[in-house]
Structure formats: structure tokens, C-alpha cells
Symmetry: C2
Subunit: 147 residues, 2 copies
DNA sequence: TCTTGACCTGGAGTCGGCTCCAAGTTATAC
DNA sequence: GTATAACTTGGAGCCGACTCCAGGTCAAGA
């Protein structure tokens, strides 16, 4: 079946996983706590162990996060990425196409901002007539934290 | 009560402003509170009034927000958004180009998600090889699918 | 005069997404 | 046999960005 199954008792510790995915240990546990990640397999001592697929899922989370998707909204995607014969779940299929459409619109919006910047830089000032974007003003984008 | 107070030219109320910008009244006041917007002009009764330029600035905020910029990071942009010859502020010019770069990266990320979705939809199922991202270079893995 | 409605202020509460902590367990190293 | 390190858990705290509220002012209308 999976790669991990060939090698019975191994897999990645949470620390290794954190290193490989760039997600902190705390955050990985947090994702499990809120059910974004399935409960991890445990060793005898209850330590979590992760497979290659688990890491892939985490990388997918990181990726989707960069597109401004909320943790909640990405649940269906994660469910899909495991097994998934997509054609068997027409609803999900539909949802994903819808989301793809949204992303394409987002790309278009961002491209307009880039154009706006290019214009302004050429003209030398940020005048009026800022970037007129598509009607829908309420869209969430990655809110970043620093520190 | 001067003529000017009744004159339509005098500016927009906060309510009108909210309607025209798509930003709620509360949020407009909040932006003023944290100093993102300058203290608004007031009428005799201390009600805020906004000019066309003020609205432009708010639209710029909305626009920058869409690109994932934090409120804090957009302060410098707003400080000179109206007039100002950009070339006189090389630092700012630099910042804007940097931000443009970020947006381009964001577009790339989004495009990767689109590709991921397309693959997924085409194949019905897709193993690893999700969207690998820029930045921290974790080496790409052999990206093999079993099966 | 009384009510309504648009506005004001300061401050508290909410929510998403972490981030940190204390106290406990287990494994290995010296 | 004790120190160290890597983990476990539940829960508290934090930050950004709102969002809501109580209590007050003012102007116009029935």
C-alpha cells in the first residue's frame, strides 16, 4: 500500500515533520486538535508518527493557506487528497471547480493591482483612480503574523 | 449654520462613505482610531465628513488589503497616496516594488493551486506532487506515484 | 414636547490562528 | 539512578482586525 507500510515501525517524528514541512510542532498539534489533520498514528509511547502522505497533506495546507483560504474552507480539499476518486463525489467535484473559478478571479484581481502599481510607478505618483477591482470587496487574503 | 453646511459640495457623511466604499462605519472609525486614516474633518456637530479624496484613500486600503498587506504595512503608502512624486521617495518606491514582487509570488501560488486542481480533476486522483512552494527550499521529492 | 435617527465616544467582546506553558511520561546517556 | 531530551496533554494567552455596545449629543419632524 503506502511507502510507510513497507517500513513498519518508522515514519517521521513530530519534530522531523516540523522541520520538513516548515510548520511548527505546536501548529501541527493545533491542526490535529481542530480536526484539520486526522488524529496521527502513535507509537507505543503515544508519540505521533507521520507518513510521507501526512507530510504531503501538511504541505498542501501550507499551499492553500498562501492562497488565502481559511483552515475551515480547506477541509474538503484535504479529505479529497487522500484516496479520492473524484468522479465518485460529484458534489465535491462541483465545489472544487467553483473554488478554482474563485481563484482565477483572485488572480485577475491581483493582476490588476500589479498593473496599477506599474502605472503608478511609471507616472510617479499614486493618484486617484486607484485599482478598480471587481465589485465584490469582501474577500479574505492571508493575514500574516510576524515575530 | 452656514450655507456650506447644507451644500451638497460639503462632503460625504460616514454613512454615505460606508455605502460608497463598502467599508462599514465601524471599520472606518476603527481605521481612524488606529491612525490608518487621518482624523476626519468634522462638521459643527462633530460629525465626520469625507471628501472624494478620502474615499479614494479608503478604496486604496481595500485594494491593498486584497493583496494581503497588513494594515500596518500600508501606512507608508497612505501617507503619500494622493500627491507626491514617487521618485522623491526612493525607499517607498523600493517598498512598492517589493510588494509587487510579493503579489507576483501570490499569483504564482494561486496558479499552482489551479494546476493542482486541474490535475486532480483530470486524473481523478493524485498522489504527492501537490503544489511545491517557493521560499524555503525543501528539495522536491521524487514525486512518484505508486499504483 | 417628544421621538426618531444619524451621529459621537470609549471601551469591551469576538474570532481565527496560532503560540506558550506547566505538569507529566518515557527512553537513552552517563 | 539521575539528568536530559523528546515527547504528551489541556488550557491559557496573544495579536490583528474587526464588531458591538452603552450612553450621550444634536436636528428635524409629528
Amino acid at each position: 500500500m503506502s511507502l510507510a507500510d513497507k517500513n513498519p515501525v518508522s515514519g517521521y517524528s513530530i519534530k522531523e515533520t516540523a522541520e520538513r514541512t516548515g510548520i511548527t510542532e505546536d501548529t501541527i498539534r493545533y491542526y490535529e486538535k481542530i480536526g484539520l489533520l486526522p488524529r496521527a498514528q502513535r507509537k507505543g509511547n503515544s508519540h505521533r508518527i507521520y507518513s510521507e502522505q501526512d507530510l504531503e497533506m501538511m504541505k498542501l495546507i501550507t499551499c492553500l493557506k498562501k492562497t488565502g483560504m481559511s483552515l475551515d474552507d480547506m477541509r474538503p480539499f484535504l479529505n479529497l487528497s487522500l484516496d479520492s476518486d473524484l468522479s465518485q463525489y460529484p458534489e465535491l467535484h462541483e465545489m472544487i471547480l467553483t473554488h478554482k473559478q474563485k481563484i482565477l478571479e483572485q488572480i485577475a484581481s491581483l493582476q490588476q493591482v500589479v498593473d496599477f502599481i506599474d502605472n503608478k510607478v511609471e507616472q510617479g505618483s499614486l493618484g486617484p483612480q486607484a485599482c478598480e477591482l471587481t465589485g465584490d470587496t469582501r474577500r479574505r487574503m492571508p493575514a500574516r503574523s510576524k515575530r
